[in-house]
């Protein structure tokens, strides 16, 4: 159901502020000036063993002006929502560009884009989570916590709930004016248990991902919470009895609840054009990919098809327009295992010699300079492909991994190490108990070249990250990653229980 733009946001003097900022920027000789007014409301709850441990309700509002002045980029942000502050931000953006002019520009100016003179976009959700009384939110999370605590395997439960509403107003000198509203929610529970026989301890978390939906998500719209909460204690009991993994190479069946994060790290960040250009070289790193490889670089198995998308319903990175006024798009990053695309904002598009951006400019809030970063990035399933059970049945000696846990990848997005919430031994096509200490290590292209089977549409699920960090100063963004279950053959597995210890 489509809802209207929040009235308290619409009531702000959006156009007057934009006019004041852009007029002053133009007077000062700025090129490519744009204005943003962002309001981000975030509510968080934390319950320990069903008891409220903390809660926050934060609203961040501010305005920002971004421009180029004699080829030098400048940006300024201010908290006051007055025409004087808006014009002042334009002056400060010019001042900081002048101050840094000695350094020299040369890092590109934005490409042109079609103008969208009066566009409004609102994400798809049914129940505004902020309209749900806080006591109802607490009661639901406390109830879920108590259900888990009732299981004998569960000693402690931590429950988090995060609700976000983003409103953004954008206007630029070219004439684009957009107003948008997005909502996302993320309940997350950790169950901690101990094995009275062996004395071991383990933690298992719910796999339900953050999603761009409303409160209906907590009632089962988009995720079966009832089933997950019912199954979690048994999974935890099995994890407490897990045997240490024997290090070696295994065939892995990776559930989408784990594979999404590998897609995020080894494909999502890897195909960000600013990394290829070195813009993150001192911070979050570069990529082993080069624009020269478009259309020819073998990324992985011919089964590998990856799309970038800012239009998918309920995607965390889904918008109508990005933070440079570019309309949301969908495109291919990898087709049949070959690199076919990168992610651009307007500036990196220009530096790559392209005529248009594909709409990947993001800013966490008004105080953040927009950065190019990943949209929703997903691995396509095999049309009519097998179920997860069928994939497992085809493995003689391997491991089935579900749920993301620890992750780490090098600064060129090659060597990575991932762990999982649950790691099940596969013997002769059947699951045979859980393993502890499992971490899979691989190099990105080696890993994707080892992709030998994909699940069908029925195994495809949308997961995602809502705290992905990038840039200096660091800013976070959210992106979804859909993928099917998949088989990777002969992947190195280590026993973390034996690493780093004498």
């Amino acid at each position: 159901m489509r809802r209207g733009l929040d009235a308290s946001f619409s009531a702000l003097p959006l156009h007057a502020l934009a006019d004041a900022a852009l007029a002053r920027a133009a007077e000062l000789g700025a090129e490519h000036a744009s204005f943003r007014l962002d309001r981000v409301r975030t509510a968080r709850l934390l319950l320990r063993d069903g008891v409220l441990g903390g809660g926050q309700d934060a609203t961040d509002t501010g305005l920002a002006v971004r421009l180029w002045h004699r080829g030098v980029p400048g940006f300024a942000a201010a908290p006051e929502l007055t025409p004087r502050a808006a014009a002042g931000a334009a002056e400060q953006a010019v001042a900081v560009a002048r101050a840094c002019s000695a350094i020299g520009g040369g890092s590109g100016e934005p490409v042109g884009e079609p103008v969208h003179p009066a566009a409004t976009w609102i994400s798809s959700y049914r129940v505004d989570p902020f309209e749900v009384p806080e006591e109802e939110r607490i009661a639901l999370m406390a109830g879920w916590s108590r259900r888990l605590l009732a299981a004998p395997e569960v000693d402690h439960v931590l429950a988090f709930l995060t609700l976000v509403q983003e409103n953004k107003f954008y206007a630029d000198l070219a004439g684009t004016v957009t107003a948008q509203q997005r909502v996302r929610v993320h309940p997350l529970l950790f169950a901690q248990g101990s094995d009275p026989r062996g004395g071991g301890a383990a933690t298992l978390r719910t796999l339900g991902p953050p999603t761009a939906r409303g409160w209906e998500y907590l009632s089962g719209d988009g995720w079966d919470w009832e089933r997950e909460l019912a199954e979690l204690p048994a999974h935890l009991a099995a994890k407490l009895r897990a045997r240490p993994v024997r290090p070696g190479r295994y065939d892995l069946v990776i559930d989408p609840s784990n594979l999404w994060l590998t897609v995020h790290e080894s494909v999502g960040h890897t195909t960000e054009m600013d990394r290829a250009l070195g813009h993150e070289a001192s911070s979050t790193g570069t990529t082993f990919l080069s624009p020269d490889g478009l259309g020819s670089h073998r990324y992985g198995s011919p089964l590998m098809n990856v799309t970038a998308d800012r239009t998918a319903e309920h995607g965390l990175a889904t918008v109508g327009f990005d933070d440079e006024g570019v309309a949301a798009q969908s495109w291919s990053l990898v087709r049949d295992g070959v690199l076919t695309g990168f992610q651009h904002d307007r500036r990196t598009a220009g530096l790559a010699g392209l005529e248009r951006s594909n709409g990947c400019s993001f800013a966490e809030s008004a105080t953040h300079v927009p950065l190019p970063r990943m949209p929703n990035v997903g691995l396509r399933p095999a049309p009519g492909g097998p179920s997860t059970a069928d994939l497992i049945a085809g493995i003689e000696d391997g491991i089935y991994l579900a749920g993301s846990d620890s992750w780490s990848i090098d600064m060129r997005r090659q060597n990575f190490q991932m762990t999982a919430q649950r790691c099940h031994r596969i013997r002769n096509g059947r699951l045979d108990g859980q393993l502890s200490g499992v971490a899979y290590q691989a190099s990105t292209t080696e890993f994707w070249s080892a992709l030998t089977a994909l699940g069908g549409e029925e195994t495809y699920r949308l997961f995602g990250a809502d705290l992905c960090g990038k840039g200096q100063p660091m800013q976070v963004a959210a992106a979804s990653h859909g993928c099917p279950a998949a088989v990777f053959t002969g992947i190195e597995v280590i026993d973390t229980g034996a690493e780093g210890l004498p």
Partner: protein, 468 residues
């Protein structure tokens, strides 16, 4: 009247109030490939109101914050929202009486305005950076990095009479130098109270020397090595240890500091090396807020860090030893966790110092006495693998150098490591000279650090990373 006072006086329905006002002002610039990529001046104000209400069930807190322009209407709206949240909230286990102005003296600079960052400081830095670029171009090197000047003022007021103010100033420069072909890369990071204290040219000169070490490439396999960890590497590892040092988390058996029969490991020797890990809000060069400022306690990024309580706002901080001469002596406490564990109230402090008993040798001197080992410049993408052992994984980055017979003989490939900083302390064989250090992974809230280089035996390099 300050905004914080206005907020605590606007309250009507709750029993008590804490108001925290943050004014942050930042000037920063980024560059890549010897060219500017962004420059910015930002300012923002944040008001956080904690309303406390008690009834027969117990005491509850409602926490609401507003970032943006804060006028009287905004103050009233935030206070009313916090009151509603307090009425709705269930009693908090960590509830304790708020501190009072009688117990905690007011800050003498309470009424002073907040200092701001300006474009001028960036202009001065830009001139130095332009000269550094010129030199780098002549030497066919490419520079990447970030410079930031930050001014952050915090006012904390309560209806119980607290009036505390703190100004945190920071200048930070990250600089990465690469050879033109990208085959070699090295990094340096510097922090100071003011960006004006940092000259990028000497930073580049140090990097240039290290890039020269890369003329000989050495391919090394995974395995266990003696390593010389730079102070930056040690900072990244010790900050992970500090983050895992919550007393309640240990008592609840969630972390590496859990005791064998319940309780904690306080009193246990972690290492035979005479290492002391400590914090002090008045540490020269690393000054930080001398009182607890807790804006909330529901942070999913700190899943197992039960180390903050909004009821402790204003609690004075003092010099605290976490490890003394290799023995665990303290864990991070709230008043609530101190009651539960029976240990002293030792809240988290915004800085961290690791040191040995003497002055210690410089990293260059440590290299000169190394028979064979790896000199590691910085660490990257460090993540928890197992909280029960604090096993971490991560990568070396921007400079791993092979040292033989007292000299750097070449640049080695990067590695993935799997190590626990607690276990690693037990394998420290030499402690270098403690100096201000910038961790590679950080944000505005990361504690400031002073760290020594460490010589560590049998460091687990788990796999080779081909990244350069």
């Amino acid at each position: 009247m300050t905004l914080a006072e206005l907020a605590v006086e606007a309250g009507k329905d709750a029993d008590a109030y804490v108001a925290i006002v943050d004014e942050a002002s930042t000037a920063h610039a980024r560059w890549a490939g010897n060219a500017l990529t962004s420059s910015a001046l930002t300012a923002d104000t944040r008001l956080t109101v904690i309303a406390v209400s008690s009834d027969a069930r117990g005491t509850a807190a409602g926490v609401v914050s507003h970032r943006g322009a804060v006028d009287e209407d905004a103050v009233r709206a935030v206070v009313a929202a916090a009151e509603r949240a307090a009425r709705t909230a269930t009693p908090a286990a960590d509830a304790r009486p708020l501190l009072t102005g009688d117990a905690v003296p007011a800050s003498p600079d309470w009424t002073e305005a907040a200092p701001t960052a300006s474009a001028d400081v960036l202009a001065r830095f830009a001139t130095g950076l332009a000269a550094t670029f010129e030199r780098a171009r002549m030497e066919r090197r490419l520079l990447y990095g970030h410079a930031e000047q930050r001014r952050h003022t915090t006012w904390l007021a309560s209806s119980t009479g607290l009036r505390l103010r703190h100004v945190q100033t920071a200048g930070v420069v990250d600089l990465t130098a690469k050879t033109e072909d990208g085959a070699a890369s090295t990094w340096s990071g510097t922090g100071a109270a003011d960006l004006g204290e940092i000259d990028p040219l000497p930073m580049y000169e140090g990097l240039s020397t290290r890039l020269g070490w890369g003329r000989r490439r050495v391919e090394l396999p995974a395995g266990r090595y003696e390593v010389l960890l730079s102070p930056s590497c040690v900072a990244d590892l010790m900050l992970r240890l500090y983050r895992a040092a919550g007393a309640k988390d240990a008592a609840d058996a969630r972390t590496v500091f859990r005791g064998p029969d319940g309780g904690t490991r306080i009193g246990e020797r972690l290492t035979r090396a005479p290492l002391t890990l400590r914090s002090d809000p008045h540490e020269p060069g690393l000054r930080c807020a001398p009182f607890v400022t807790a804006r909330g306690s529901a942070d999913v990024a700190q899943v197992f860090a039960d180390t903050v309580s909004v009821f402790d706002n204003g609690l004075p901080l003092s010099a605290t030893e976490w490890i003394r001469d290799g023995v665990l002596t303290g864990l991070v406490q709230t008043r609530h966790s101190a009651d539960l564990t029976g240990l002293p109230v030792t809240p988290q402090v915004g800085n961290l110092v690791l040191e040995g008993p003497g002055e210690g040798r410089s990293l260059a001197e440590m290299v000169a006495t190394t028979r064979r080992g790896l000199l590691v410049t910085s660490l990257w993408y460090v993540r928890d693998v197992d909280p029960r052992t604090l096993l971490l994984t991560g990568l070396t980055r921007d400079g791993v150098h092979l040292v033989e017979n007292g000299e750097v003989v070449g640049e080695a490939n990067n590695f993935r490591f799997n190590e626990s900083p607690v276990d690693l302390l037990g394998r420290v064989t030499e402690i270098g000279r403690t100096e201000r250090a910038l961790p590679r992974e950080r944000d505005d809230s990361t504690p400031r650090t002073a760290m020594p280089a460490l010589r560590v035996a049998d460091y687990t390099m788990s796999a080779v990373s081909e990244a350069t």
